[in-house]
Every structure is written in structure tokens, then in C-alpha cells.
Symmetry: C2
Subunit: 332 residues, 2 copies
């Protein structure tokens, strides 16, 4: 039974590797749902990974990230490179899925077999957004995509983490999109390997570039690590060739001097930590009785008034229970 299942997983791996889109989509669904079959499949293909170039693209809402990704994809297609795009859109509670919005504009690309686009919700993804996007990017790598782009629309901690989990991270800003202090607040500045000032036909572009330059001056970083600042007008395709050239150059440089390998190692370490943390979390709450224990305990704690056990106390009790139960199982 297990052997048969593994054969099925190996079969899907082979189909993804052969470039099949349907197989690709199916394996991504496994990844999103935390389906155990993904881990089985992963064991069978992980040694084949590492060929694709992975870009993380992030920035505040309205910076024009999707249009920029679209333009980059068209450019790469012109160079005969295949492309995979993972677009992370938070779910709306009432559409029940990723909002289309920007994605609709990708129409031009969606007819091209050389471009695979996957929209993801940030909610309801099993075991965390970063874990799922890493896995999905791997599927695109296995699928033979030359360039894999993960675009996150948010500016929160977890969204920024996603963009960091790549070979190279682009931070896209635009003039008039609020002060750069907002981007600093969002933690965007520390993840940027390349700054893209998009909508550069609008007023304020010089000031924004100057602000970024000043901030970089203050940070006193080694010259090789200093993020270049490029300007684009994605809607008109201006600056895309230069940006794509900079991306290639930065990647080549980092590959040559070992920084790429180092970064991939770091990403991998963070990723395994996430997998372990996610599994443990799952383990506790799936262990029969502990969720019920929580419900009963909190019913007593209502509003925090007059209860005999505190939230921290109850958490400790649940943890002890977990360890004891696991202990019992190991002995059995």
C-alpha cells in the first residue's frame, strides 16, 4: 500500500520534471495543503533542485510589482528562458480565495506555455506562508523553469520573510507612495538586494532615489553588498532591460564569489526550522484530547476574571500533557 503510494508520488514527480503543467499544479496543491504526499515526493526530487534562479519581489501596495514582474517575464521569454511566478495575495474572507485584481492583467502571459503563474492566498495555507511558497518555488524549479519569481504584495513581517527566501530580493518603491520611512518601518530596507524605483515618470523620483542613497550611505555596508538603485516605468517597459541585466549580473557575481551558496544554505536552515516548528504545532493540536482540553480550560477562564488557572498555567498544563502522552506512545 505504502509502496504503491510512493510509486504514485514518483510518477507525479516524473511528470512535473517532464514539464507537465497539470502535474505541476497538483503538486503545488499538495504543498499548499501540507499534504504528507508532498514530503514523500520531495524526498524523491530534492537532489534535482537548485537549477532555477529565484527572485523575491516585494514592496508596498501600489508600487506596481505585478506589472514589473509581467514585464520581466516578457523580457525573459524573449531570451527564451522559461518563467515561474508565485503571486501571493491575501485571501478575502468573502471571495473565499485569492483576489484576482492584478492577476487579470497577466492575460498576455497566461497564454504562453513558457510562463507558469500560481496565485496563492496568505490565509488558510497550512503551516505558514513561507513554508508553502518555498515548496511551490521548488516545484517550479523541478518543472524546469529558468527564472522563478515570488511576488508578495504585503508589507508585513511574514510577507517580507517570504521575499527574503530567494537568491536575490528586489524591493519595489514608487514616488508619492508615502515616505521611505514607511518602507523602513515595514522592514523592507534590510531585505533589499536591488532597489527598483518604479513609476519613475512621476514627480518625486529624484527625491526618492536621493533618500535611498542617503540611507545606504548611513548604513556603511561593504561595497559589494550595497544594493544598486534602478528606475523603471513598468507600464511602458522603460528600464526593464537594464533591470534584467542587473539581476543577471548580481546573480552571476554572487555565484562566483560564493555568496549565493551561502545564502542558499541560510535559506535552507531557516526553512528546516519552519518545517520542524510547523510539524510540532500540528502534532500538539492533533493529539487526541488536547484541543478539547484547551476548550474546557478556557471555558473556565472566561474573561480572565476569577479563574483559578491562568492562560500561562493552562498552556503549561497542555505542554506537560503533550510530553507525557508522547512519552507514553514511545513506550507503547
Amino acid at each position: 500500500m505504502t509502496a504503491l503510494d510512493k510509486t504514485k508520488e514518483a510518477e507525479l514527480v516524473a511528470r512535473v520534471k517532464a514539464g507537465e503543467e497539470v502535474a505541476c499544479a497538483r503538486m503545488m496543491t499538495w504543498a499548499e495543503r501540507g499534504d504528507p504526499r508532498f514530503a514523500v515526493a520531495y524526498d524523491a526530487f530534492h537532489a534535482d533542485l537548485g537549477r532555477a534562479r529565484r527572485l523575491g519581489i516585494t514592496g508596498p501596495p501600489g508600487a506596481g510589482k505585478s506589472t514589473l514582474v509581467e514585464r520581466l517575464a516578457l523580457h525573459w521569454r524573449g531570451l527564451d528562458r522559461t518563467v515561474g511566478i508565485v503571486a501571493v495575495d491575501p485571501t478575502s474572507p468573502f471571495t473565499g480565495g485569492a483576489l484576482l485584481g492584478d492577476r487579470v492583467r497577466m492575460g498576455e502571459l497566461s497564454l504562453d506555455k513558457g510562463v507558469f503563474i500560481r496565485s496563492m492566498a496568505t490565509r488558510g495555507v497550512f503551516g505558514g506562508l513561507a513554508r508553502a511558497t518555498d515548496d511551490i518555488a521548488d516545484v517550479l524549479d523541478l518543472n524546469g523553469r529558468d527564472m522563478v519569481v515570488v511576488e508578495t504584495v504585503g508589507v508585513g513581517q511574514s510577507e517580507v520573510d517570504v521575499a527574503k527566501s530567494s537568491d536575490l530580493t528586489l524591493v519595489v518603491l514608487h514616488p508619492g507612495g508615502g515616505d521611505t520611512i514607511q518602507a523602513m518601518k515595514a522592514g523592507l530596507m534590510e531585505v533589499a538586494d536591488i532597489y527598483v524605483v518604479n513609476k519613475a515618470d512621476r514627480p518625486g523620483v529624484d527625491r526618492l532615489v536621493q533618500q535611498l542613497t542617503d540611507i545606504l550611505d548611513v548604513r556603511d555596508i561593504p561595497l559589494q553588498d550595497r544594493p544598486p538603485i534602478l528606475t523603471t516605468v513598468a507600464t511602458e517597459g522603460t528600464g526593464i532591460v537594464e533591470l534584467a541585466g542587473q539581476i543577471d549580473a548580481s546573480l552571476a557575481e554572487r555565484e562566483a564569489d560564493g555568496r549565493l551558496a551561502g545564502r542558499r544554505g541560510e535559506n535552507l536552515r531557516r526553512r528546516i526550522r519552519r518545517i520542524v516548528d510547523g510539524r510540532l504545532r500540528q502534532d500538539v493540536w492533533e493529539l487526541a484530547g488536547l484541543s478539547e482540553r484547551l476548550d474546557q480550560g478556557t471555558a473556565g477562564l472566561e474573561s480572565g476574571t476569577g479563574a483559578s488557572v491562568s492562560a500561562y498555567g493552562l498552556a503549561e498544563e497542555i505542554l506537560s500533557d503533550y510530553r507525557e502522552r508522547r512519552h507514553g506512545e514511545t513506550q507503547a
Copy 2:
């Protein structure tokens, strides 16, 4: 020794309860750092909690949240209510702390003993932002603050979660701040109990209110749960009295019909889950040897090419190790 320590913690609890600001700040630092003394102190005071009204205020950058909070605080002071504000600002990597920015404007309030303001970084907070802000809000409750406001500047998943962990959540938007679709994407719409359209002296306010109304119409929610939409010009104090009145009315209504108690129960359940998850995560990586195991394992996995064990495989090995070690300790 332990008894002595507990006495010290009880002493600090008493000082916080007596309204001492220095004691308050110290206990918040324990909470932020995940200091075990916080859990000890918590056991001693949790039964006293639940008196303060807790508001979560969130919205996209630039909506004017801080000014709005400042105005509300001034209004409440006029009614002789004491106020506690937790302002969540992501850390900049090179300032090494929370950026001041907006906070500077709070000058008027900072001289008033009736208002306690705590700025928090989203990074480097031990065990997650939501866990820490819940704890800090509790300290303000213990400190006797009538109104406790948690303001999050971000629009990411974890920041929205923070705003949800309250008695009532305000979502602040402003005309010209991008389409409401951006707010929907950020998951803001589902947490709103009250919508505030700030900067209502700017063009586009009618359109924004109409968009929100349309969205609420589509959602088909029960009338009692339908979030009211209020307009304000926080910089001029316009609409603040009405907003404060709506906040009081919504809270009173929810208290009377039991929704408040239900929500507090839910918040508590989520919170205990977070504590358990955080403790487990800490437990694994602090257990001697497992971090080293990860480092050794990933050194072999470099770039994912040609390795014999996959990331998922290594994660499983670390988990088994953890369980076995914990098992060994329980037996010892």
C-alpha cells in the same frame, strides 16, 4: 531561592497594580523578552484582569492612525478615563529599535500621567508579536487603565492578528490611499468592527464610503454585526466625539448581549495556542544539540544538489531526536 523570586514578582505586580509607571515598564520588558518571570507574575495577577476596554486599531500606512489614537486619548482624558497605548512599529535594522516618527507627535500626551505609551518593535520580540502585545495590554489592564489601545501600523498577517486580539477592532482607511481592494487584500476587511474613514476633508471620501457600503451589502452579515462607517479628520479633531461615542455604544451593546464575553473567550483560546506553540518552538531549539544537528545537516545539503537527505527528511530526523530526548528525560 524560588520562593524569594516569587516574592519579588509579587512585589512588582503590587506596584503595577498601584499604578506605578516604572514598574509597568519593567513588567512590559519581561513580557517582550519572554522572561520566565512574566509567567510567574501573570499567575499572580490574571484573576484581576478584564476591567479595561481593549481596542485594536489598524489600517494601511499613512491612514493617520497615530493622530486618531492621540485624539481619542485626549477625548478620553477629558472624560477622566486613563489610557494605555501600545504602538507597534517594525524595527529598522539600523536604528536598532522602534522608529520614533509618529510617536514624536504624541508629545502632548506624554506629559500626562493619565496616558501610558509603549512603543514596540515587531522584530526581536520573543515568541511572536501577538503574544507580546496581549501580555503588554494585560499589564496596562492591571495598571488600572480604563482604555487600552493597540495600534498596529502594518498591513501583514501578523499585524492584523494583533488588532483582532481585542474587544473591538477599528480599521482606519483614507481616501486616496489606494483602492479598497488593497485593504481587502491585506485581510483588513474581515477584522473591522468599526470603519473609520479618516482624512475626510480630502477628495474621494464619498466614493470610499460608498465602496465600503457596497462591500458590506455584498457580505450579507447580520445587522447587529454590521460595522458602522464613521468619518473623521483626526488632525482637526473632527468626528472624534462621534467616534468615541460609537466605540462606547458598540462595547456596551456587545457586553449586554454576550458577544463581548464570547470574543474574549475566543481571544483567550487563540492566545493559549500561541503560548503553547511558542514554548514548543523554544523547547526544540534550546534542547542541546538540535541546533548543531541542523547546522551539520544543512552543510551537507548545500544548494539542494546531490544530497542524500532532503530538507523534509532532516526536519523529520530532528523531530524524532527531539521526541526521543524528551522521552529519555522523562524516564530519567
